[in-house]
């Protein structure tokens, strides 16, 4: 392979930054969940890239496999929570979640 590993690492860092900025700046719960998925994907890309640098075993790829499974579980539960929240409040704005504040 001729592409240096750090290209992938920089790409993953940029992806993670995009996801984090989206998580911080957006107020839509659905977009927040998608931003979390972006960040998980960035971490997965980093794991696989480092595994390519040390190809004696498949530790990074197996860990990325586990992360994918956990991300799927997180998306299922998170979307169920979004639906329950929508049923309660009639909106998906994260600002309206103030029940514990008052």
């Amino acid at each position: 392979m001729t592409i240096p590993i750090h290209y992938f690492l920089v790409l993953a860092a940029a992806l993670f930054a995009t996801g984090a900025v989206g998580f911080l700046l957006r107020r839509n719960l659905l977009v927040l969940l998608m931003s979390i998925e972006l960040m998980l994907n960035a971490v997965n890309l980093t794991l696989v890239a480092f595994n390519r640098l040390h190809p004696q075993n498949h530790g990074g790829q197996v860990l990325a496999f586990f992360v994918i499974a956990i991300a799927a579980a997180e998306a299922a539960v998170g979307l169920a929570i979004v639906l329950a929240y929508f049923r309660l409040r009639g909106t998906v704005r994260s600002d309206e979640a103030t029940a514990l504040k008052h």
Partner: protein
């Protein structure tokens, strides 16, 4: 050889473009359905990166799980919510959030430049050659079911718990239709006293049924 190099570079550039473009579309989309499409684009780009990194099995899993399940789940929820899925005036974030985001982006940019500079010093031939079947389902399966079998089984348990949890949360507070129909005025699962009464009657009916069975 140079031809091959060129192909690899073009492929990587395409994958990186898809990844970053999709990510920005996800974050910047005003409608969540477009965000879901951006997420799909990102996932395709990352799949391309996995192929370049000799992770064929993970590329397949990425397509099946993310593009096939997670994005579809998002689209289902967006369609279930309808027009209320998009929130008006979403861009007006508070100043601390902008500050936090700015600091974060600055950190990432600094780390990225540092990394590029350091690795440029260390030379570019650092990527080792791989064994013949690196990253295939055979090798990863062998490792998954021998060394890492306990985390693998735990992941199965986690998925089971997640399914049960998603069902329990997503179903909401509904009276069990097989039980005695409660008073229709309290049936809508509303707020305050009404729902408390519904719960009380449901619990009463449930205990009555349990008594019948016993």
């Amino acid at each position: 050889m140079t031809n091959m190099q060129l192909v690899e570079r073009v492929f990587f550039a395409l994958a990186a473009l898809l990844t970053l473009g999709g990510a920005i579309a996800t974050v910047a989309a005003r409608r969540p359905i477009r965000g879901a499409m951006g997420l799909l684009t990102t996932i395709l780009g990352i799949c391309g990166c996995y192929l370049l990194l000799h992770a064929e099995f993970l590329a397949t899993i990425q397509l099946i799980v993310y593009a096939g399940a997670v994005v579809i789940l998002f689209i289902f929820v967006v369609m279930l919510l309808g027009s209320s899925a998009e929130s008006p005036a979403d861009g007006s974030a508070a100043l601390p959030r902008y500050l936090a985001a700015g600091v974060f982006v600055a950190c990432v940019l600094g780390a990225g430049t540092l990394m590029l500079r350091v690795s440029a010093d260390r030379g570019k031939a650092a990527v080792p050659a791989v064994a013949e079947h690196f990253g295939t389902i055979e090798k990863i399966g062998r490792e998954l079911f021998t060394e890492k079998v306990i985390p693998f089984e735990l992941t199965g348990a986690l998925l089971l718990v997640a399914v049960v949890g998603a069902l329990a949360v997503g179903r909401g507070k509904q009276a069990d239709p097989t039980l005695e129909p409660a008073d229709p005025s309290t049936q809508d699962g509303g707020k305050g006293e009404g729902s408390a009464i519904t719960e009380a009657t449901t619990a009463g009916a449930a205990s009555a049924h349990a008594g019948d069975r016993a």
